[in-house]
Symmetry: C2
Subunit: 254 residues, 2 copies
């Protein structure tokens, strides 16, 4: 809506790909170098971009601080975290917490597996929305028409042969997920990784977040992972209860 700001903000994802010099930025924005310079300077003054010693620009440190403060304002995360850690101590696998925001689903917390396996997911990274178990839970809770139009707009990349192939298939899956109150991703994103997830609900019963346990099938089979489902659901319910204020927190109850 505001051209100048729009251009300035477009620089950020651009620099996220890696450092760039003035000319590159100007080219990518399709503006004159002097314009790009002014925008970069303004971003710099706010600490959002940093000028490294070779004069190229990259994302700045203030961005971390802002992201940190943003995450601290999400109270679901704070409440959920100890539960996630405890779950990880019980089962040993990777635990994720995700929320839905403006058509994206993203991880806001993660407790790493205690097995020596790496999993490619990062806090803050958008989730593969058509296949991830947490995404299914979050989207299944949307009102019907919205869910429909949203599903139509999506791409359905076939990460593996078991990925959700199309909008109708996705909508059917969402219906199933909503009905059963939990979700899975069985090799839909990475062939060898399975995942079970459960929803976290607010006072009004709406899904505010979703959590999942993931493990590669070199560690546990699909069926073994599914035996964890009751534990995952209980954890999610405990978080829901605390989030809704049903359990007294540290604060003195008035």
């Amino acid at each position: 809506m505001s051209q100048t700001v729009d251009r300035a903000l477009s620089i950020l994802p651009l620099l996220a790909e890696g450092p760039a010099d003035l000319g590159q930025v100007a080219d990518r924005l399709d503006v004159h170098k002097s314009t790009a310079l002014r925008l970069l300077r303004t971003l710099h003054e706010h600490g959002l971009v940093y000028r490294q010693s070779d004069q190229r620009y990259r994302l700045g440190a203030r961005l971390f601080a802002l992201a940190q403060e943003a995450v601290e304002n999400l109270d679901v995360r704070e409440i959920a975290h100890p539960h996630l850690v405890r779950l990880n101590e019980n089962c040993g696998h990777t635990v994720h917490l995700a929320v839905h925001e403006d058509g994206e689903v993203l991880y806001i917390d993660k407790v790493d597996s205690r097995y020596p396996v790496r999993m490619y997911s990062r806090i803050g990274k958008p989730v593969a929305i058509t296949v991830a178990a947490v995404a299914k839970l979050l989207l299944a809770d949307l009102p019907d028409p919205e869910r429909r139009t949203f599903a139509e707009k999506l791409d359905y990349p076939m990460y593996t042969s078991r990925s959700t192939p199309s909008a109708p298939a996705f909508l059917r899956e969402l219906d199933k997920v909503r009905e059963q109150g939990w979700a899975t991703d069985l090799g839909g994103h990475e062939e060898s990784i399975n995942c079970v997830a459960a929803p976290i609900r607010g006072t009004d019963g709406r899904v505010v977040a979703a959590m999942s346990v993931s493990a590669p099938n070199v560690v546990v089979t699909e069926t073994e992972l599914l035996t964890l489902l009751p534990l995952v659901r209980r954890t999610a319910e405990a978080i829901s209860a605390e989030y809704s204020g049903k359990t007294p927190t540290k604060e003195t109850s008035s």
Copy 2:
């Protein structure tokens, strides 16, 4: 330099304090509500602010994603991380990695203590610059005049009775730190927490980052912590060596 962008970006720290509605934002920016609305809309389209259900605005999720990608581009961090983890496994205490950027010092990595103690520090959070051991190392490496003017501009909050009280005291401390090649913070930030730190240097010998080990004196005394100094310095030197390319990394050496 660009008024419009400047105003837009000023909204971000404002929202970092907590959610705000349109009127509040307009007041704080000292602009008309319609102007604030347009700016907020632009920020929203880029995912930097999010409109919650009560119509108030807060910081958006894209900020995480950006911050994450920013941190991934810092190769010191990537190289240092395994070393930090190993150090943590050896001594059990909290390990920090920090860099200096535009007059701020901030943590870019952290490995939590294996003792059941909480430490108040977060990745991305600016460091208490006048007392933290890592900050002393990073600032001690600045060229003389710059260091001087910088020290003058600082505030010297007395977190504890052992905090650095003034610019001259700070400059003396920096001289000492530079000479000895390591730094401490003995109860200067929090009364009961001590800290030893060592510098990480690039090819040209300049300090590019600093790392530290921190522990509360309920766990180890000041002197006990100081016995870890050689280990900390060796770790820092190992990271420096690898960062300078003296040790072959995973890549095939050409």
